[in-house]
Symmetry: C2
Subunit: 309 residues, 2 copies
């Protein structure tokens, strides 16, 4: 995006809300989205087109996505697990569809009961569906490489396997892939090495973003490694809510508030106003009084004399 | 130290305990030190030689330092505010004396009621005291550059001022200086830039360590910046207890447990066994039942199949 060095992609409405039992009312979600957009957050993953019986928290994704699309300048993303979800996403006219594919096939089978081959076929069907749209109506199709840094079931994931799946996703018709540390296993050396390997295989322009967890407190160190390498989109969740409910022991997204402070302090423009971001945090705190919101910067405040560059 | 890439310097017994009201019994401190040493922690700052009326939590520093000195292979450090403290530290035969000097003179005046000139004179006296010892009995004298990354009273601290004070500390007779983010203001770009500037002025061999806070959640990102630059000693506190009680709004050391995971995951040897470190954490949890221990890795556990390199 213009004038922005790093695009913060807020995933709290999807990854955050799907991990908690409490259901946020649709109107509160809309207030949250409006507050985020008002703060300058450039992209929001607003929900997931999964059956309501699986994730009742996200049952209103169609209404939410359509609402988000009315906000000028906001990039609206959704997660889709399959072709049916993609059809709904296209109906909602979102800008970006993300379909997760777990590099750990064991995790894929337990999570969505699909093999790699079945997932890649589904991606192919979605890509064909998108190609049938007029050029200026086509959303971006991103394949998210889940468990790319390790799996709580399989353990170590060979990096060559991650690269293979990245190549396969591009061949199946994705516009780009994203790396996802579903389990909070990543370390900065691994982050840099894996980005380099995937870039070598599919080109820098097809891997721009990363989804990191803070399960072991390493989230922002891994962000630093990512931006030092040259990634330009970082996922995060307001208050750090969420994580991956189907990877046992994994929890905790990186905190949008602390991420924005990190990037702005480093002189990287996010386009986000910190005070307005705090107002959005208050919307969440009010709507989810029983959910613990993480983050250090909200408590400590910005440094004395701090101003964004 | 031999076979170690990064030396973790545990400051919980000093920086941690001075920040809490509860007084840890001397015997519990000894158990904590023994457990840390058994885990392979190479250096422990065991206390501070300040008057007991100011910090009753550290009134037993002499006994604790002498006990720590009986543990073979352990590097024993103490903080000293002045010449009188240094005399006690020398009597305790510690390996390292750290005297803090706040680059923010306002902070120095409020914290220890001394100007820069007064502090530098004191450092000079301590250096002379050490030089009168036989060569093989001389402890290392480190000048710690407090508020090097910003001050809660003065705000931005000019980097040239940090460099000037570093030079003055070396001229006053310090063996080395350390950078200290007393207020949790630091960001990774600033960390790298300031290390480079201080190195250019006094030489790489005279700045090896950094003391970072996690006040805004940036601790481990700043650690990454520090080790990428080539620093080899990182201060941290077990459970993240502590911070700086005299810098309003500043709190939270970086967590030893998460730091060790970060470094080992990156392939940097710390010499520390994670399970044994958890045993040391249990000693603290038992001795300080009312103090909240921070850290993500203790809850999440090590990744499946993780082994130190």
């Amino acid at each position: 995006m213009e004038g922005i060095d790093i695009e913060v992609s807020e995933v709290g409405l999807r990854d955050g809300l799907q991990s908690i039992n409490q259901i946020m009312p649709t109107e509160a979600k809309k207030r949250w989205i409006s507050a985020l957009a008002a703060a300058g957050v450039p992209e929001i993953e607003v929900g997931s087109f999964v059956p309501a019986r699986i994730l009742p928290q996200l049952a209103d994704t169609m209404e939410i996505a359509q609402y988000a699309r009315t906000i000028e300048g906001l990039n609206v993303a959704v997660l889709v697990p399959n072709l049916k979800g993609a059809e709904q996403a296209i109906k909602a006219r979102v800008h970006k569809l993300t379909i997760p594919l777990s590099v750990s096939e064991t995790h894929s089978l337990r999570n969505v009961n699909r093999t790699h081959l079945q997932m890649l076929e589904e991606v192919g069907h979605i890509a064909q569906l998108i190609k049938r749209l007029p050029v200026d109506e086509r959303p971006i199709l991103e394949g998210a490489l889940s468990t790319a840094f390790g799996c709580t079931i399989e353990g170590t994931i060979p990096e060559d396997r991650v690269v293979e799946i990245a190549v396969a996703l591009m061949e199946a018709g994705c516009d780009e892939v994203g790396l996802s540390d579903t389990t909070g296993y990543a370390n900065p050396v691994q982050v840099k090495r894996l980005i380099g390997k995937v870039w070598a295989a599919i080109g820098r322009e097809h891997l721009k973003g990363i989804h990191l967890h803070n399960t072991r407190g390493q989230g922002l160190a891994n962000v630093l490694a990512s931006v030092e390498m040259g990634l330009t989109t970082i996922d995060s969740s307001m208050g750090g809510i969420g994580g991956c409910p189907s990877a046992p022991g994994a929890s905790g997204n990186i905190v949008t508030e602390d991420l924005v402070f990190l990037l702005e302090a480093m002189g990287l423009k996010t386009g986000i106003d910190f005070d307005a971001l705090m107002a959005a945090r208050n919307v969440v705190a009010t709507a989810l009084p029983d959910v613990e919101l993480y983050g250090f910067t909200p408590d400590a405040g910005l440094p004395l004399g701090f101003c964004s560059r």
